[in-house]
Structure formats: C-alpha cells, structure tokens
C-alpha cells in the first residue's frame, strides 16, 4: 500500500482528524486518483492517517496510507496531482511504496512554544528543566474511563528547554508516540500544574519528526 508523507500547517491545523480524512478522499477524487473502497455494507474509501492529532497542532511529519484502483501512476506524479487538489496548509511532501510497518513507530520529536505576553518569567528555563529532572511527574490524563493520573517522565526520551525570544520559551522533546503514547500537550500541562506561576498565555505545538524503536527516522 502506498504511503504519503504530508504536512498540516497554517489554518489547516483547525481541521479535525475525521474532516481531514474526508478532505483527502475528495482530494484524491479531484486529482483523478480513484481510491479503492472497502467491501461490505458501508463501503469506505481506503485512506487512513497514522497518528490522529489534536485540533490546533501543526505537523510536518504526518503519514497517510492509501490504496488506488487500477493502474497506479508513478509516485512523483501522484504527489504532484494531489498537491494540485489540496488546500493551503495541507501539502504532500513525498509519496512512496513499502513504508515501514506502523506498529514499529515509536518516538516523536515535538516542539512546544510557550508564549508569555509579559515576557518569559525569570529563571523559567532552569525551573522547567528542574521539574523534568525529578523522579516522577504525575499529570492528569482524560481518558475514556474518566481522569487518571499518569507519570509522564518514562515517556520522555529527551528534553531541551530554551528561551528563544523575550516572550517565548521553547520545549523540544523526543517522546513516546505509541504503546504508550504521550500527548505533547501533557508537557505544558505539567508546567501549569506544578509551576502555576509559569503558566503561559498560550502554547503552540508542532510535530517535527517520527522514529522507530532504534531512533532512526520512520517512513
């Protein structure tokens, strides 16, 4: 099954996971690339996105699996035609065959920008580093069975904290993204919980790259 690497940026970050699937189904159709459909009572077009993303999050490393009916054009052609049929903010970077098995997806590099309108508080960088250097870091996680406490430290592979402008503190982290997976927003949730005086006015989140268990880039 061919796979597409795509990015979701700009105003497209407000498109939900289900809406994005629908958007791709239509884009394939507009591009003259007919998707195969599942057999059964309610046929569905065969597109699936590897890791659903929360609204408002940006990404340059999204994966889409799809399957085409009939003779398949070459991958470069698929990529070109899809991009002509997509909207600003959703761009296919590469189309390829024989992607790695999704079950081998393990880590995600993400970047959180914490915005402080009155300026980044003093010592914020050090205090955030200290927070993540502890033994455990319990954060509330809302799940299907209500709210549970979750220790996020075991799911953080590495973390860098830097003040990148007078009003922005940046967290770059490599975190688990499958079995178990950590929502990057839990990093800022920890700061808000344990360092309330460092609660930012706004948090921007971006997915940068994905890796397998050996920490080589996943495709």
């Amino acid at each position: 099954m061919p796979r597409a690497l795509f990015e979701k940026t700009g105003n497209a970050v407000y498109i939900s996971h289900l809406d994005l699937m629908r958007l791709f189904q239509r884009a394939f159709k507009r591009a003259g690339l007919p998707l195969t459909h599942t057999q059964g009572f309610n046929p569905r077009a065969s597109v699936s996105i590897a890791m659903p993303m929360s609204l408002g999050m940006e990404s340059v490393c999204e994966l889409l699996n799809f399957d085409l009916e009939g003779e398949k054009p070459d991958n470069g052609e698929i990529c070109r035609r899809l991009n002509q049929a997509l909207i600003p903010g959703v761009t296919v970077l590469q189309v390829y065959d024989q992607g790695q098995k999704l079950k081998n997806l393990a880590y995600l590099d993400c970047c959180l920008t914490l915005e402080y309108d009155q300026g980044v508080p003093e010592n914020a960088e050090q205090r955030v580093k200290d927070l993540f250097a502890g033994q455990t870091l319990m954060v509330e996680k809302k799940g299907k069975n209500g709210v549970v406490e979750q220790d996020i430290l075991p799911m953080i592979r590495s973390l860098a904290v830097n003040v990148i402008s007078p009003t922005e503190l940046e967290l770059r982290a490599r975190i688990c993204c499958q079995n178990p997976s950590l929502n990057p927003m839990q990093l800022s949730a920890a700061i808000i919980r344990y360092l309330p005086e460092l609660a930012p006015d706004f948090v921007r989140c971006r997915r940068l790259e994905i890796y397998d268990a050996d920490e080589t880039v996943f495709r």
């Binding site: 105003n11 497209a12 498109i15 239509r26 007919p34 006015d201």
Partner: protein
C-alpha cells in the same frame, strides 16, 4: 489571521468554520477590486454553506470583473463570547478583513427566526443597525431570500431588498454600485437609482400609515416610487448562471454534498406552502444540462454524494432521462445519488429501490393532516391509499421505520381531524403487521406535529394562528391516544412557531422588538440550545407590541397587508379564490391537470410555464 484569533480558535467548537481556506474559495488581488461585498448568511457556517442560493450568488458576484464577494456566517455562541471579550469585530472568511470595511453587506434570509442573527451580525461587525444611521455609500446593506417577500420587520435596518431570484438582478445592483462609487454619489442618489432596477424594493421610499385599531391604513409610495415591486425570475434555467466550481468545506456541513436544482416553482398548490406559491412559475432545467452540471460539479469538488433537489422532484418531467444518464455515472464513480421530495407514485418507488442498492434511506411522508377532509382543505393531494400502499411495499422490502409529519392548527381543523392522525398511524402499523418480512426488530413510527404558521403570499395568508394553549391541547389529545410502543411522538414547542408567525406577517412596528430582543442577547433562535423565549416576551412587553395582533387575530381580506407592495406573480384574487375553495373543501388539481390561473405565468416573456 491575528494572534488574538489564533489563540481563540483552539478553544471554540469546530474552529475550521472560522478560517476559510477551503477548496474552491475565491481570492482576488486587491488592486483588481473596486467593489467589495461581504455576503452574510444569518446562521452558522454548516447551515449557510449548505445553501445552494448562496453558492450561486457567490459565483455570480465573483465572476464580475472588479468585484470580490466574500463570505460571512454567524459565529456560534462560544465564538461570539470570545469575540466580544477580545474586541474582535466580525470578519469575512476569504481575506479575514472586518465586515465594516466593505462597500456592500448582503444577506440572504430564508427563515424568519434568523432576523435576530441579521441584527446581531451587524452589531458584531460594528456597523450601525439602522439604515438611517449609515449615511454614506459605504456599508450599504441589502437582502434577499424567501423571507424578504415580506421584508417589513427588517425595513428599518436594511437599505434595500432584492426580491426573487438573484442571478441577473444581483449583477445589475452591484454594477450600479460600482458606478456610484466611481462617480462619488450620495447614498440618496444610489437608493433612488437602484429602486429603478426591477425587483428592487427600497423600504424608506414607502410610508406606512395605521388605523386607530392598529391595522394598516395605507402604504404611501414616496417620490414616485412604484406602487408594487415585482420579484425577479430567471426565465431559462438552462442558460442561467450556475457555478460548477463550488467551495468544498473542510469541515462537515449539514448538506455535505453536491447539489443541483432540477426545476423551480411547484405545480402542487398546497395552500399552506409559501414556496409553492412564491416560487412560481414552473421552469425546468433540461436533463442534459443537469447531467453536464452534475459531472462538472462532482469532478471539480470530489464529492461522493449528489442531490438533485426541487420542491417536488417526482414532478420533474425529465426525471427518467436524468436518472438514466446519471445513475451509470454514479455507480461507476462510487457516487451516491439522493433524490429528496419524491412522491409515492409507482415510478418513484421503482427509482427509490434502484437508488437504495447501497444504503437504505428513510421513508418519510408529510400528509400534514389526519383526515381526507382536511387534506382537501389544504389541497395536499396525498391520499391514505397512496401512503398505505407505499408503506406496505416498503415493509415487504425490509424497511421497519417510517416518519409521518403533520401540522396542527390548520384552518377548519376539529378534534376529529386531530384524531384522524391516530387512525392513519394505526393503519400504518396494521400494514407492517401484515407485510413486514422481518418483525424481530420491531417497527418504529415517528410522528411529528408542527404548529401551523400562516405565511404571506399563500391562500392562508389571512388565517388566524390558533393559540399556543389550544395547540398544546391538541398535541396532548393526540398523545393521550397513542398507546402503541411502536409510536414515537414529537411535538414542536409552540414558542418558536408563534414568533415565526409574528415575523412572517409582521410590519415595521416589529423593528423595536427585534432590536430590543437582540440587545438583550437573543440570537441563534433556530437552535434549541440558544433560543430564549423569555427574552422575546420581555421585548414585546417593553415595546408595547402585542404578538397576538399578528397571530391569533387573523387578517381581514380587505385589510391592507404589510406585504401588499410586493408582487410575487400570484394574484391576490387567486389567493382569495383558493381560500374560498379551501373553506368549501374543494381541491384544486395540480397545474398539470389544467392551469388554475394563478397569474405567475405573466412573469414569463421568453418561455411558457412548464407546469
């Protein structure tokens, strides 16, 4: 997009409806644009983007050189709160510019209960509400849509109304504005000139005088304004502008599919139906043109579903040719074809079965009244036999669900008619017992009753609305007789329909009520979770306006009606005649069995009425 907005978006429901950037959106270079139009739909994005009329007019204006038309929708309550807290004025989706910067602000209004949204949107835009307070040529507010066939409740707020179908007249209006702006006209001069365009009604050119009893005494046209303004129509729909490159929303909307119109007007003449009279005469698109537009629309949009709509699709003469052309294309391309508003005739039944190869859709009937006598009064020529035959066949084919829609409070209705609904429902249940192939899952009969709202330009435009108490009594009477577990009975609360009745036949004195209600926070009234009846009642009290004057009072046949200056093509004489026939229990056969002489064919010069 501003930083303020970026911070708000993740915290509101369905933020994708506020960003624009969809497939098919029209962007223009500012240096090529002389006239900017903010095209407002007074409801949410999901409703507005489902509106074919808005899509057509968006295309019409944007194909004009030098004109850029951009879309605006009513924000949902959470977004409105955030906008007010953060002082963000209402913006258009395409350029994200504030509405207050626009030359023209257009509204399309299809539902009376959207009036509060019109005012609220102007308020959110920071544009003065009253037409008289907008002095210059900038921010000219105009409106069209079915509701504007009685535009009076909005007369204080809207500079002019464009009546009827907009494909041609909108171009004339915007072109005139283009000239007015280039030549630096005063607003007065523009209004004067625009009122000369057929189909344009400028309310400030008419003075309303009242009798001591509150009824209208006369409507005086000022400065040579025409006595009546006749709605515009497009004669040849095959040649009419129709955009096949339409916007494809990036988020799910109510009617998330391609949509084509088979014909306009209706041959049926149900006496309560505003669209049935005000959209006449009947004009059709040919099957070939529809097929071409269907293919173009589907290919451009990538949609997997298409609807061919009209007021009564079974009455489309080209239905067989069209479906013969379209079905093979749809099968081949995994496209679902849906045909709403099919009648229960034989051809339609076969067609339905063909369409249902993939998915079974629902079976819905709108008998509107429970007895044949009352159905004759309202001229709804759907017989019990037709309903039962279709049900029997559907139950035999595996359906176990049927919806039946009725109205309560129709003219001449008695308790016997109300209980007639009951009898009909039990006959449907009997059909299921005799015909169902799979009884394990049981049967569901959804019965819904609505509160009858008399509408302008119909034979029932003079009728009284029954009181809300009486409506509820009839609902309860019916409910007390439904004992089968198969029946699910819903009745609409009377509050909204009562207000709808007030504004449908309202006059200019409702302006203060609207303004007061909106100032106290009324908006999104069509949405249960937002509708606050108390705010409206308080507004009526504060303004000294009695809602009963517009509802239970009824209008005299000799009375001057607020919408008298508006001519939709159907003569008042014909409406009176139809009203009399209703009271005599006489049906008027559909237009195909002989022209009933409504008068709408006089609107046609090039083609004949296709009834």
């Amino acid at each position: 997009m501003t930083q303020r907005l970026q911070r708000i978006l993740p915290s509101v429901q369905k933020p994708a409806r506020y960003t624009g950037g969809e497939w098919g959106e029209v962007k223009k270079d500012f240096s090529d644009v002389r006239v900017r139009v903010a095209f407002c739909f007074p409801d949410t994005y999901e409703i507005g983007m489902s509106n074919v009329g808005m899509r057509i007019l968006y295309g019409v204006m944007n194909q004009m050189e030098g004109v850029w038309c951009e879309r605006v929708f009513a924000p949902w309550a959470d977004m409105e709160t955030a906008m007010r807290e953060n002082h963000i004025p209402l913006w258009v989706l395409e350029s994200q510019d504030p509405v207050s910067e626009f030359d023209m602000i257009a509204f399309t209004i299809g539902y009376e209960m959207a009036y509060s949204n019109v005012l609220n949107m102007l308020n959110l835009a920071g544009v003065p509400l009253h037409a008289a307070d907008r002095r210059g040529l900038k921010n000219i507010v105009f409106a069209g849509g079915v509701c504007t066939f009685n535009p009076e409740p909005l007369a204080e707020f809207v500079d002019f109304f464009s009546l009827g179908e907009g494909e041609e007249v909108t171009v004339e209006i915007v072109s005139l504005y283009d000239r007015a702006k280039a030549e630096g006209w005063e607003k007065e001069r523009f209004l004067k000139e625009v009122s000369r365009i057929p189909g344009v009604y400028v309310p400030s050119f008419y003075r309303h005088e009242y009798n001591a009893d509150g009824t209208l005494a006369r409507i005086v046209p000022l400065d040579g304004a025409p006595e009546t303004v006749t709605k515009r129509i497009v004669e040849d729909l095959d040649k009419a502008y129709f955009p096949t490159k339409m916007i494809v929303p990036s988020t799910e909307i109510v009617h998330d599919r391609a949509n084509l119109e088979a014909f306009r007007g209706c041959i049926r003449g149900c006496r309560f139906c505003q669209a049935g009279f005000s959209c006449r005469p009947v004009r059709k698109k040919s099957p070939e043109v529809l097929y071409r537009q269907a293919v173009e629309t589907l290919e451009y949009s990538g949609n997997q579903e298409i609807t061919v709509s009209s007021l009564s699709t079974s009455d489309y003469r080209g239905l067989k040719e069209l479906t013969d052309l379209l079905l093979p294309y749809c099968w081949e391309n995994h496209v679902n074809l849906s045909l709403p508003s099919l009648r229960a005739d034989n051809f339609s039944r076969e067609l339905m079965e063909k369409l249902q190869t993939v998915r079974k859709s629902g079976l819905t009937f709108a008998p509107e009244a429970g007895t044949q006598r009352l159905r004759d009064v309202i001229n709804k020529n759907l017989t019990e036999d037709e309903i039962l035959t279709t049900c029997a066949r559907a139950f035999a084919g595996g359906w176990n669900n049927v919806k039946l829609y009725f109205m309560l409070g129709l003219p001449t209705e008695t308790d016997e008619d109300v209980l007639g609904i009951l009898e009909l429902v039990y006959k449907v249940i009997q059909q299921w017992k005799e015909n169902a192939v799979n009884k394990k899952r049981g049967l569901r009969v959804h019965v819904a009753t609505a509160y009858f709202v008399p509408k302008p330009h119909t034979p029932f435009q003079w009728e009284r609305q029954i009181t809300p108490q009486e409506y509820l009594r009839r609902c309860k009477l019916l409910k007390s007789h439904f004992y089968s577990k198969s029946i699910v009975y819903d009745y609409h609360s009377p509050d909204l329909s009562r207000l709808e009745a007030v504004f449908a036949r309202g006059d200019r004195r409702l302006a203060s009520v609207l303004e007061t209600a909106v100032a106290s926070g009324a908006r999104l009234d069509g949405w249960d979770e937002c509708f606050d009846y108390g705010k409206w009642l308080e507004a009526f009290r504060a303004c000294g306006v009695d809602p009963d004057f517009y509802t239970v009072r009824g209008y005299g046949e000799k009375e001057v009606l607020p919408w008298d200056p508006i001519d939709v093509g159907v003569s008042k004489r014909f409406l009176r005649l139809e009203r009399k026939r209703a009271y005599d229990g006489k049906v008027t056969p559909d237009c195909r069995h002989g022209c009933a002489g409504c008068g709408a064919n006089a609107l046609l010069k090039e083609v004949a009425c296709d009834a």
